[in-house]
Amino acid sequence: MAGSHNISRRDFVKLITGAVGAIIGAAIGLPAIDYLIDPALKAAGKDAWVPLGKLETFEIGKPTLATFTRSTVNGWEKTVNSYGVFVLRSSDTDTLILSNKCTHLGCHVNWNVDKQEYICPCHDAQFGINGEVLGGPPPRPLDRYTGDQVQVTDGKLLIYFRGG
């Protein structure tokens, strides 16, 4: 009889202890990880049509900053963030809308009238009037709002803003 056992009593107890320990560890550890990363799993959508103002108030040929705020509830508090886009009317019908968020690391670019460039204050990125990269570290041109992301209703300019 004794010879038919392939595993000793001691090893069996060790194995069971290890297995039960692993189950308990997972039962405690997984909820703990879930607790820590919970906010990352609940990113709220902020998509919405945002009005930028009357189209005719934007001067033709000159990039103009239009700012707006979006609020989200983070945890127990409402957070208000401000965003901006540069509106450039090249003619009565053509409008170019560029995000002011630098494509390098997310700082806000400014329009430099003297140089006729968008310049990022953080790492000196330079973009042309149409958003193309002229110099510095950015990997791609400034993001554009085009096509169905833009609409004009009753003379008011709106963009479809995507949060997150």
């Binding site: 879930d34 607790y35 820590l36 945890g75 508090e77």
Partner: protein, 219 residues
């Protein structure tokens, strides 16, 4: 391979000696009352871990303390569980530490050569009560607010220096944001640091002197 690695580590870290001194030391005849010290240590570690987790979301300011706890309870995954363990673990820890003290008293384990182990244990009991006292304010609800008002008033009834003690505890004449933040600091930094240090000495003394025999009929 593993034996070689272990031998290398053991030679430098004295793992075997540590194991023998802590987990394989001679014990008097088994008695469940003698496990209460280990139970207290376990509860301390449990409170430490759950407390660290709570501090990820809790905010010690009057504007946000209550809301942040509501968020932990209703918004965060398993927040109710973490806070529940911390809440009930606190009550249980006071109870277990107190019964542990009673056991040591009844079995006369505080006598030579363990007088200092006992005195440090008194410090540990007071620190545990201090943790309960400071932690009770942190939810900043009506119960917490008035309990702390009453308890600090009791401290204020000490002759002559009473009003100074009360102001020092409250960080002013009334309960305020200062009270909440100093109770928070005491709860998560000062008292745990003192507790951890005293626990270290307490454990060292227990390992050094071994556990006392259960008193026999002749004692």
């Amino acid at each position: 391979m593993w034996k070689k690695l272990f031998a290398w580590l053991d030679e430098r870290l004295a793992l075997n000696e540590l194991y023998k001194a802590t987990l394989d030391r001679p014990e008097p005849k088994g008695n469940w009352w003698n496990t209460l010290g280990s139970a207290s240590l376990f509860l301390f570690l449990l409170q430490g871990v759950t407390g660290i987790f709570l501090s990820v979301y809790y905010t010690p300011s009057p504007d946000h303390a209550f809301d942040s706890i509501q968020y932990i309870m209703n918004g965060v995954a398993f927040g109710w569980l973490i806070r529940g363990i911390h809440h009930w673990g606190a009550t249980l820890m006071v109870l277990v530490v107190f019964i542990h003290m009673l056991r040591v008293f009844v079995t006369a384990s505080y006598k030579y050569p363990r007088e200092l182990t006992w005195l440090i244990g008194v410090g540990l009991l007071l620190c545990t009560l201090g943790m309960g006292f400071t932690g009770y304010l942190l939810p900043w609800d009506q119960k917490a607010y008035w309990a702390t008002t009453v308890a600090t008033s009791i401290a204020g009834s000490v002759p002559i220096i009473g009003s100074f003690i009360m102001k020092a505890l409250r960080g002013g004449t009334d309960l305020s944001a200062l009270t909440l933040s100093r109770f928070f600091a005491a709860h998560i930094w000062m008292l745990p640091a003192v507790l951890a240090g005293l626990i270290g000495v307490h454990l060292f003394l227990i390992i050094k002197h071994g556990e006392s025999e259960f008193p026999g009929k002749d004692d």
